[in-house]
């Protein structure tokens, strides 16, 4: 119904008022001539109102004459009439056309610039870069090279790791991913020992030295400490004294981070042991084998040998046979295939020299896994230990190497790390400045 009504609307129809002695005659006549009439109703005694397709109006005139009726047009309904009326209003049509043109024209400009993803970077800086490329609201879209925009922002704003520029209608969307610049966070770097060792040589570059040559250090021990000091030219040492301990870092005068740096090498010892057998019993399969089928139903078990065999020594393996449906039904039936393999024991013996060689090879392999290739080996010792009872030979290799044991560790800076005065950070074995807490 809706569709037929829509169709009538699209084609246009006319509401007519029919007057006459016998409008029924007119209706019959129209029907027989194929003129479609619908929604006919009585309006008062002598009038009938009906709807008729707009295109059939001309045909109607002769029919009305034949039926001696008269009709008048009440209303014209439908799209064709609206279009016809609209076309009469030239200004309206012109306005609509102008509107479309204006919309199209204006949509070829950029009206908005969005910058997303910035956390620390000021959006104004990005906008400034864009402005330097002549990109601002009101500029034509066509001249914009998005790739160039991306490249320019990436090169001009140092903190940017990635830029994506895209046009969304009249909107230029710039997506930014920021770099996390290392060292920007308030942290201090110490130099700690990566390994246990005896310090052989120490060159301190920056930071507070805590060890000297000849010291024994343990893994994780702090060798050089990083600290904070007031920036040269800043208010000087008075402020922190007034503030005391309660003051936080932020309230103090601007501080400079002094990260620990240095070259410290130490003697480090490594030890590794390798092993080899002098005598060894080996069990080998002879290749002869026999099979047994094991069937178990509940607690009842039966073994069905497949062929006759008798081995003095053997290895046994068992492999369950999948029963498919039976298994899935939960029946307690199990079938397994058991294999018996005849074995023979033989004793292999190695000469001492050969055993030592094998043990040494194992020990060497183990030791060079530990000693870093950059380490300078200064001393190496080898012990051969023979274990008669086990029939084993052990070779122990001890290596002393001089290597760099510095490891930089960054930690959060605290109040304790502020050091005033220009006292010593430079030079070897300097005890450094006095700490103020």
């Amino acid at each position: 119904m809706v569709i037929s009504r829509l169709w009538s609307y699209l084609r246009g129809y006319v509401i007519i008022k029919i007057r006459g002695r016998s409008p029924e005659k007119f209706i019959n006549l129209a029907t027989s001539r194929g003129v479609r009439l619908w929604d006919i109703y009585r309006a008062g005694d002598r009038f009938l109102v009906a709807k008729v397709d707009a295109g059939r109006m001309k045909q109607l005139a002769s029919l009305l004459k034949t039926a001696s009726c008269r009709a008048s047009i009440e209303e014209r309904v439908g799209l064709p009439f609206i279009v016809a009326r609209a076309l009469k209003r030239r200004a309206l049509v012109a306005g609509a056309v102008l509107f479309c043109i204006a919309l199209y024209f204006l949509s070829s400009f950029i009206w908005f610039i969005d910058i997303d993803g910035t956390k620390k970077i000021d959006k104004g800086r990005v906008l400034q870069v864009l402005r330097s490329m002549d990109i601002r609201p009101g500029v034509r879209k066509r001249g914009i090279d998005l790739l160039a925009v991306e490249r320019r922002i990436l090169s001009e704003v140092r903190e940017v790791a990635w830029v994506g520029a895209s046009l969304e209608g009249t909107r230029l969307h710039v997506e930014i991913a920021e770099k996390t610049l290392v060292g920007e966070k308030q942290g201090l770097t110490d130099v700690v020992a990566a390994k246990d060792g005896l310090i052989a040589e120490a060159i301190f570059l920056t930071g507070l030295p805590l060890v000297k040559e000849g010291d024994t250090v343990q893994k994780g021990q702090v060798l050089i400490r990083g600290y904070l000091r007031p920036l040269p030219g800043a208010s000087g040492p008075e402020t922190p004294q007034a503030g005391g301990q309660g003051k936080t870092l932020h309230q103090s005068p601007p501080l400079e981070t002094v990260n620990a740096k240095g070259l410290i090498s130490a003697r480090v010892w490594y030890e590794a042991t390798g092993e080899a057998f002098l005598r060894k019993e080996v069990v080998e399969r002879t290749g002869r084998a026999g099979r047994v089928l094991g069937i178990s139903i509940g607690n009842w078990k039966i073994r069905v040998p497949l062929g006759a065999f008798k081995f003095k020594e053997y290895e046994r393996d068992e492999e369950p046979v999948s029963l498919g449906v039976v298994e899935r039904l939960g029946l307690p039936i199990k079938i397994s295939r058991v294999g018996y393999h005849e074995v023979k024991r033989t004793t292999i013996s190695l000469s001492r020299d050969k055993a030592v060689a094998i043990a040494r090879r194992n020990a060497e392999k183990a030791i060079w896994n530990q000693v870093p290739p950059v380490a300078k080996v200064v001393w190496k010792k080898e012990d051969v230990i023979e274990d008669k009872k086990d029939g084993r030979i052990r070779v122990r290799i001890t290596v002393e190497a001089i290597e760099d044991i510095c490891k930089s560790v960054t930690r959060a800076a605290g109040q304790d790390d502020i050091i005033h005065g220009d006292t010593g950070v430079k030079g070897e074995n300097d005890e450094g400045g006095k700490e103020q807490t």
């Binding site: 209706i27 029907t31 006919i40």
Partner: protein, 102 residues
């Protein structure tokens, strides 16, 4: 004249009997073979009359339609002819009765 009328009426009756038998035997749709109108009522809101022979009278409380059996009268209130074509008439409104006369 009365005879003739009587005669033609009996003729029509016998003719109809034969047709009715034919319909029974062959199980054909009656409205096609006997040229009967087919009326579909949807509640009291709509009457669809197929196989009509033309509109006799239309007012808002009565629609008279010519059919093969004579005349079909649909009466009610606010009746509207929603659709009319050579095959069917759709009457809408609040229908109170549908009856045959003639």
């Amino acid at each position: 004249m009365g005879d003739r009328a009587h005669g033609s009426f009996s003729d029509r009756i016998s003719d109809r009997r034969i047709r009715e038998k034919l319909v029974d035997v062959l199980e054909m749709p009656q409205e096609l073979v006997l040229d009967f109108p087919r009326i579909v009522l949807v509640g009291n809101a709509r009457a669809l009359i197929e196989n009509h022979k033309g509109l006799i009278e239309y007012t808002s409380d009565k629609v008279r339609v010519s059919v093969s059996l004579g005349e079909l009268v649909v009466s009610g209130a606010n009746l509207v002819i929603a659709r009319i074509s050579s095959d069917e008439i759709a009457v809408e409104g609040s229908i109170s009765s549908v009856s045959f006369t003639g």
